[in-house]
Each structure stands twice: as C-alpha cells, then as structure tokens.
C-alpha cells in the first residue's frame, strides 16, 4: 500500500470519527424529540431526517454545494463571519457527512427511546429525579444498545460515502480525498494493485462491522 492510500485511510477515519461524535450529539435530541412528541410536525420531521436514505447522494451534494457557495445562505453567513467557505474543505465534508448519515444515527436511538417507554421515566420522577436527571440516569443507560448500533452505523456509513464527498469535497489529497474517492482515482488511472488493496480492505471492514452489529442483535435476542 502506498503513502497516498495511507493518507486517504487516515483522513477517512478522522472524518468518520468526527462525524460520528457530532451525529451522536445532534442526533440524540432529535431522536428524543421524535420519540416523545405528539406534535403534528413529527411526521414531516421524521421524513426530513430520513431523506438521505432515499435521495441520490448527488442530489444532496448538489444542494449543499449551492448552500455552501457564495450565493447560498451558509456561504454568505461564512463570509459575514470572515470564515473560509466550506466547499472543498474538510469542515465542509464533515457537515455534509453529518447530514448524509443522520438517519442512520437518529433512527436506532429513536427506536431505543421508544422501546423504553414512559414508565421508567415516570418511576424516576416519583423518586424525585428531575426530567434532565431522569434523562441522564435512566433514559441514556437504558438506550445504550441503540447508541452503540447508531455509532457503528453512523461510522460505517460515513466511511462508505462517495457521491456527496465528491461533490462537496472534490479530490484534494490529505484534505478531502477519502478512501472511496481514492479508489475511484486509482481505477481511473488503471492502478489496479492499489485499488485492490483499498477495495479489498473496505470489503473486509464492512463485513466485520456488519458481523459485529448482527452478532450484537442476536445476543440481545437471546438474553430476552
């Protein structure tokens, strides 16, 4: 494996880790709200979160590119704050990845919160726990399996993205050139040896991740 490949792997891991951490922070309140709200907005909000599941990554990438650009509202906000515009930067990639992988994190957490139900929280309240206290001392620990699933899926899905990265990040080595893009690069240049290393590694990685995930589910089923 050459140095360029290692750089791409390192960048991908960095991107996926950062994205997963941000997703857990952003996704938890969204999942909590979706699990508990009786608002009429629940349907539309749930659909909005799930959109990246069905949209072609190019559609998402296209709109993000426009929003990030000099005429988009995010681009103008960045200009106003004297910050670098997001397209073709690592930061832009992170934001795009967060949006792209959002449903993979929100849904398992939402399912976990819904499975807990209201009862444990009512019990906590009867034991003098304030709503925040009950959330941290009861809801979070009980939803732990959901969080682990969410983190694994969020990480793996970010590692596997291609279309959005290409449209937002381009193909800058060490900055936005992630694994999937690097493989595309090698194949275009007929460097099949290096492509094999990366592609084969991805297959192995994905297999191991899914095996862990399904193994966890099976154990959870048995322990019931």
């Amino acid at each position: 494996m050459d140095n360029a490949s290692l750089t791409a792997i390192w960048l991908t891991c960095k991107l996926a880790t950062l994205t997963t951490v941000l997703l857990l922070l952003v996704g938890t309140p969204i999942a909590w709200w979706l699990a508990n709200t009786r608002s009429r907005l629940k349907g539309p909000a749930g659909a909005l979160v799930a959109l990246p599941l069905v949209l072609p990554p190019t559609v998402l990438g296209f709109y993000l590119l426009i929003a990030f650009g000099p005429h988009g509202f995010i681009g103008q906000a960045m200009d106003a704050l004297n910050l670098q515009r997001l397209p073709f930067t690592f930061a832009g990639l992170v934001i795009a990845s967060v949006i792209y992988s959002l449903p993979f994190v929100v849904q398992p957490i939402q399912n976990a919160f819904e499975a807990i139900g209201k009862r444990p929280l009512e019990v906590a309240a009867s034991l003098r726990a304030s709503p925040w206290d009950a959330f941290f001392s009861v809801a979070l620990p009980l939803a732990r399996p959901g969080f682990i699933t969410a983190a694994i899926l969020g990480f793996a899905h970010t590692v596997g993205e291609f279309g959005v990265v290409l449209m937002i990040g381009g193909n800058i080595p060490g900055k936005t050139q992630v694994l999937s893009v690097k493989i595309f690069d090698y194949v275009e240049n007929a460097n099949y040896t290096q492509a094999h290393w990366l592609a084969g590694g991805m297959v192995l990685f994905s297999f191991v991740v899914l095996m862990l995930l399904y193994g966890r589910r099976q154990r959870a089923d048995w322990s019931r």
């Binding site: 906590a124 309240a125 009867s126 003098r128």
Partner: protein, 356 residues
Amino acid sequence: MEGRFHIDYAGFTLDVDLSIPEKGITALFGPSGSGKTTILRCMAGLECSPTGFLSVADEVWQDERRGIFLPTHQRPLGLVFQEASLFPHLTVLKNLRYGMKRAGNNHGEGFDAMLDLLGIRSLLERAPDSLSGGERQRVAIARALLTRPRLLLMDEPLSALDMKRKLEILPYLERLRDELSIPVIYVSHSLDEVARLADHLVLIEDGRVIANSSLTEALERADLSAVFAGETGAVLETTVAAHEEDGLTRLEFPGGKLYIAGNTPALGSRLRCRIHASDVSLALSAHTDISILNTLPATVVAIADADTPGQVLVQLQLAGGKNLLLTRITERSRQALNITPGLGVFAQIKSVAILR
C-alpha cells in the same frame, strides 16, 4: 388529604372529589376502566387535570385555580406500579439508593429496618432480572418508602403476580399498614385484597365516586352489590373470645358470636372476617336440627336486585348490634318466605372467611 380532579377524555369523563384519611390504607376500588388508575396518576402529577386540587397533610400540592402545580419529582410521594418497575441497569441496592439520594435520605434513615420489614436484605447485590415477581415488588415498595414519602400510591401492586406470590407479599403489606403513619392509596379490583388490607374504601364507577366510607360500611351496603359482583359480602371485626374444648374458636362482636374451626388465633386478638352473601341463607325460625353452627337472629333492612337475574340481595341488621350482613337468595324464596323489610329472620352462615 383532599383531592379534586376533573378531566374530559373522548367518551369518558373523570370527575371526583375525594376526602381521604391521613392514615391507613384507602382502597380505590372499581371495575377496570372506571378511572381508578387515572385518579392515582392525577395525585402523582403524571396526568394533567386543568382544574385539579390536591392537598396532603394540609400541604397544597396542586391548586390550578391559584396556579399551583408541583411536578411529580417535587411531590414527596412514593409510587408502586402494577408491574415491576425496577431499573434493569441497576442492582437492587442501587435501585434503592436512586430514590434515597434524590430525596435527601443520604444517611439511609430507616434503611436497615426497611430491609427487614420487606425481607430483601439478601437481595441487595442482585440484578432485577434475577428476582421473582414478588421480590421485585417488595424492592419497589422499599425503594418508594426509602424516599420518606408523605403519601404512598400503589397501583394494583399484586395484580401481575400469581396467587402464590400474592400470598407471599400480602403479609408484608399488612406489616406496612400497621407501621406506616402516612396515607396509602391502594388501587385494586380484587375485593379479597381490599377487604384484607384496607380500612377505608372509595368506590369508583364511570369516573365518579359512588361511595367513600369505612370498609365495613361500604361492604354492608346492598345497593353497591353490582360493583362487587360475585364478591359481595359483609365484613365483621371480631375478637377471639375462647378456644373451646371441641376444637372450635369463639369469636365475639357487638351483638353476637361466631364459631370457626381450629384454635390457632391468639385469645384476645382482633380478627377481621368476611361473610360472602352467597354463604348466608335465611330461615324464619331458629332451627336446631341443622348442621349449620352459626345462626344469628337479624332483621331485614332492605332488599335490592342482585347482579344475577332471579336473585335478590337482602340486607340484614344483626340483633343487638350495629353490624349488617348481606345475603343472596332467589326471588322465588323471597316470595315463598314473604321476606319484606322489618321482618325478623335467622341468618344461617355456611362459612366465614378470616381476612386477618
């Protein structure tokens, strides 16, 4: 304590005004769907009642007219749910500490006594999953009480348990009743449980209170029989007066005596007995050529329809006392014997159930 709640749901209105003794177990009794649990949830602050009012020991927890509503976690109450509600991610000890810590009972006041009272000392390091249903409920009760509540709410705490577990946990509840000095609200649809545990009875039907009195008074009323259904029957508070030579025990109550088989209960102790309406038959004269031992003279007070067609409930006043009995007889027998209010009869009691 005083509570007033009014809630309109689609197709169901809850409208209750309750005054409940500050000590002892008060049963909220009624058929399922009558609103018992909703009342309990209102008291706990888990249900919104826009015009609600609740005061416990002269302290106002809720008075919507003055804009007062303490959220659940600020109400010093203990809550025991129908199904085991222990936190599965914590050991028994940590479950107990969860409430103690937050209620400011850091020094574990009453901790040792509670472990012994509920018999859970050996369970402390166990996970809730590994406990039996009865053990879990006992831990849940201890956890609620260790927050030193000023009101204990129990929502059918035994209904998820089988008969064996019920019998295992009932003695613990009886000990609690005798040792606690706070009001306990006990929701149940089992009259046997209620008759054994409660001192005060609130009958709920269709979201309304249809009776609110001492247990004995409520169970003597013929007009409430529809609510009690097949379980209709009066309760007598008796004293163990004598152990007789032939193996019987004599129980006395104001205005009469009853014999029960065996002589285990200690002399002088109080026994609460239940006499099911279907275990009482009527005679116009005192028979001596009959195997039934307990025959009490009485006067017919009232006659009401029973829940079964062709049957009536007859309410009797026992001679020489204030105690009332209920009996279930057929309409045909009533006519044959011409039983009307004011008539003197003899109540033949086929069996007596000892409640406590």
